[in-house]
């Protein structure tokens, strides 16, 4: 088994309270399933904004302030048998119904493959 990170972008189209609640309930259903099948390891939403540091002079700027569809809004870490399985699992994410994307990235491990 290996660990993978899901990076979520977008999926926050302004919608009605009822739609938002439905969106949330779908997420919770998906999360519950990941957790019940032992895939869930960790996950947090991220605040928008923050700071970015850059260069030798460690220049600090506010942001990122990119468009919300490009901004990472949260992450999950899941355990799966392979990248293919992790990708399959990600297909269950409700974010696609709301115009968002999931990036699936294998975590690097110390042990040699």
């Amino acid at each position: 088994m290996s660990d993978f990170m899901y990076l979520f972008r977008g999926g926050m189209n302004q919608s009605s309270p009822e739609e938002m609640q439905k969106n949330m309930q779908k997420w919770m259903g998906w999360m519950k399933e990941l957790s019940a099948k032992g895939h869930f390891k960790a996950g947090e939403p991220l605040e928008a904004g923050g700071r970015t540091l850059k260069g030798k002079n460690k220049v600090v700027t506010d942001g990122p302030f990119t468009e919300s569809k490009d901004l990472v809004g949260g992450y999950l870490v899941v355990t799966a048998g392979s990248l293919d399985q992790a990708t399959e699992l990600a297909k269950g994410c409700p974010i696609f119904e709301y115009d968002g994307t999931v990036e699936v990235r294998p975590l690097m491990l110390m042990q040699q493959p």
Partner: protein, 427 residues
């Protein structure tokens, strides 16, 4: 950590919608009606934040309380940031200028009892005399029930663009009115309450009689009307026999909604309805409310309509219905509210009580009314009585004319179905 934190999933119902209505009302008082849009934005923010957080972390212990605190904190931020540049509610100007009083004042204003009052004040504000009843209904759905423009439009089978225009204009009217309607010590409270009741009646009837084919949409509209009317019934400033009578009427009719519309949204004629599907709890609640509403010394159309609905809801069958009493009720209703539709329903009841020929004679007397001539159920009433009188061919042509006047697919299908029954009788 092997699974998301947070409390187990509570029964949410329409939590976001409900809280949206509560919080928009509270924030509108805090910010002042001229900042209505800001209040809506702050609530939208709080809901978005909840969505982002809860979807990955699970529910807090008390989701409603969490949303309230979130909106309140946002309000404090806004007030701090803009108190020197923006004008908020005039009565709060002093309190929000000082850090000593800002947070305590806001906490005070977000008490349940205060928010309950704010919602009623918002409801009365939505029924401004310069607004049409249908604009008031759209506004109530938007501000108090958390419906989006699309959802209001979908409920009324209207174009989103025209609904949006209507809501924006109506919001502008409220924003310009200076402050939320005051429930205490206002001289025109009675007149305004009458407008509110009319709007709620309209909202309920859109769910009950409307031409929407999705049963859940109809149920939601009825449910919202009942919820808002209950708020009036529970508040000492607005509780009156007329309010109780309207609420009774809503419960007694809502009780029969499951039988009136089948799962696919088709209208069912009264004699084919499964009376077992009627909601007996709602019937009982309606009867209790109707009894409680009899305390006043005057009778309103809502009282009489509720009494008619009660007769239907408690009758064992169509034949076992006390039509004599229903006709008596209609006689009274026609005096209180002399409209063609009331006259039509009275004629139908007479047809049930005294036989189809008498009913047809009553209908014929109404035949000159131009409004009724366009009303498909007028033709259909002729059809039903002709069919019962054994003249199936005449009945069929009435149903076909009714189908031609139908205002939606469901009505059309219903009348064509009745016409087909008549055709079957003739074979």
């Amino acid at each position: 950590m092997s699974k998301p934190e947070g409390s187990p999933a509570p029964e949410l119902g329409h939590l976001f919608r409900r809280e949206s209505g509560r919080l928009v009302s509270a924030l509108t008082r805090v910010f002042g009606v001229h900042n209505l849009e800001l209040a809506e934005d702050v609530v939208q923010d709080a809901l978005c934040r909840a969505l982002e957080l809860w979807k990955l972390r699970g529910f807090p212990d008390d989701p409603a309380a969490w949303l309230l605190v979130s909106a309140r904190n946002r309000a404090v931020d806004v007030l701090r940031r803009e108190r020197r540049t923006r004008v908020f509610a005039p009565e709060l100007t002093q309190l929000i200028q000082s850090e000593w009083t800002l947070v305590p004042a806001l906490s005070e204003m977000f008490q349940d009892e205060m928010i309950r009052d704010d919602q009623l004040r918002m409801m009365f504000s939505c029924c401004h005399p310069k607004l049409s009843d249908s604009a008031s209904v759209a506004l109530m759905l938007s501000l108090l029930c958390g419906f989006s423009v699309q959802e209001v439009a979908a409920a009324f089978l209207a174009e989103p663009a025209s609904i949006e225009k209507r809501i924006v204009r109506a919001k502008g009217r409220i924003a310009a009115s200076g402050r939320l309607y005051e429930l205490r010590g206002t001289s025109d409270l009675k007149a305004r309450l009458a407008r509110v009741l009319r709007a709620l009646y309209l909202l309920f009837n859109e769910g009950y009689h409307g031409s929407h084919s999705i049963r859940t949409v109809r149920e939601e509209l009825c449910e919202e009307a009942i919820r808002l009317c209950t708020m009036l019934a529970e508040h000492p400033s607005t509780n009156s026999p007329e309010v109780l009578a309207l609420l009774a009427l809503m419960y007694l009719n809502a009780a029969r909604l499951p039988g009136r519309i089948n799962q696919t949204g088709e209208l069912m004629p009264l004699n084919e309805q499964d009376r077992g599907s009627w909601n007996s709890e709602f019937v009982q609640r309606g009867i209790n409310l109707l009894n409680a509403s009899a305390s006043g010394d005057f009778v309103t159309p809502f009282h009489v309509e509720a009494a008619i609905a009660a007769e239907h809801a408690t009758s064992p069958s169509l034949a076992g219905t006390n039509w004599t009493r229903i006709v008596e009720h209609y006689d009274i209703l026609l005096k209180l509210r002399p409209t063609p539709v009331v006259a039509l329903n009275r004629a139908i009841a007479i047809g049930q009580e005294q036989g189809p020929e008498r009913g047809l004679a009553e209908l014929a007397e109404l035949g000159q009314d131009a409004h009724l001539a366009r009303y498909p159920f007028f033709e259909a009433a002729f059809g039903e009585l002709e069919l019962r009188a054994g003249r199936a061919a005449v009945a069929q042509s009435h149903f076909e004319r009714a189908a031609a006047r139908a205002r939606g697919m469901d009505e059309r299908r219903f009348f064509l179905g009745r016409a087909a029954v008549c055709a079957g009788e003739q074979v």
